[in-house]
Symmetry: C2
Subunit: 211 residues, 2 copies
């Protein structure tokens, strides 16, 4: 094995270390987060640090970068209490990545990228019409992470929209490759997936069985 | 689009909702976390809610389930202040999944699954020898998530071990498919990935360019 010590990593320039540490943590559940400010101005931005917290209640979190780098999404969520999360398919990757550009206040990433906003009753925030998996979220808590000025934004899952129900198994599992959902790596890498297998609930004295 | 409303989701049985919500949030950076208690008893367990927090300082977090469901890893981390995170390759998936079984106190998942523990200077917690990507972590903070009794465990990246440096690009990006790192979906699904592309830093007035 090749060792890269903490002192080596600390000495790297910020961009090299950023790429390395961002990929070290592994594949990520990249999605587009749609929001609206109090005046109705829509915003959509790509986020790749989305994390399952629990299913009962159904809670999902994401990391919002420091306010100086990424002010709009978190401000809109705090102003309105709601947002949407939308999966990305291969044909949307270029547009999704382009939403990470620092557009001026008042500029809609929808208009700039060609992603289509979609509004539904009960949720002021826009969904992304091209997404095969869309869901609305209600803000539960913003946890400041003081060590690097980021925020862990926790929300409750509201309504879910799927382009097909064929991908939902008898036990509720969503076979995301059937919906062409991509995963990301680092700050700018996008990947499709292939199924290795699912395994039954593991018990002592046995070995995990494929299901 | 097919709508699944919040009231529909709330009415599902816990297992169906668990599978659904766990897959809804997308692909996850599944890894094995190695720890040791104050008496030197090793533990290794699969965790799939690992999240990049920031690169400067290099911080990575993970969600630990409620103490009643997953007591050992978090207790060991709080006792010793350190732990290891180890990527999973396809040939390790069955063993990795088997570590999720509820073994009695004092039983080592290493002995039960055939994963090999590896100790290195400066880190009392065991690495998983079969992993192509291994790194040690130092505890920074445990953030209780009061809404569902889980914990967001934040740590600082220490030393990193890679089976090959050929996968590290000139800009620090780690091309994880070259190291056979798998991703997970839901509670029990494992996937390999194929590269779609990387895109340059996005700027307004342009369109994301492949790199």
């Amino acid at each position: 094995m090749h060792q890269l010590s903490k002192s080596t990593i600390d000495a790297w320039d910020a961009r090299y270390r950023g790429n390395f540490i961002n990929s070290l943590s592994g594949y990520k559940s990249v999605s587009l987060i749609g929001t609206v400010n109090a005046s109705g101005q829509p915003n959509v931005a790509v986020f790749s640090n989305i994390v399952h917290i629990g299913a009962n209640p159904a809670l999902i979190g994401f990391i919002n970068r420091p306010l100086a780098a990424a002010p709009h999404t978190i401000a809109n969520i705090q102003a309105t209490g709601c947002y949407t999360i939308n999966h990305i398919t291969p044909s949307m990757v270029v547009q999704a990545h382009q939403t990470s550009a620092k557009y001026d206040d008042g500029v809609s990433e929808f208009a700039q990228t060609g992603l289509s906003e979609l509004y539904r009753d009960g949720c002021p925030a826009p969904f992304v019409a091209q997404s095969a998996v869309q869901y609305s979220m209600k803000l539960v808590e913003v946890v400041p992470i003081t060590h690097n000025n980021t925020f862990f934004v926790i929300g409750a899952v509201q309504d879910v929209y799927l382009s097909s129900l064929d991908c939902v198994g008898e036990d509720g599992f969503i076979e995301l490759p059937q919906l062409d959902t991509v995963t990301s790596l680092g700050m700018d890498g996008y990947y499709v997936t292939s199924r290795l297998g699912r395994y039954a609930y593991a018990k002592p004295g046995s070995i995990a069985q494929p299901i």
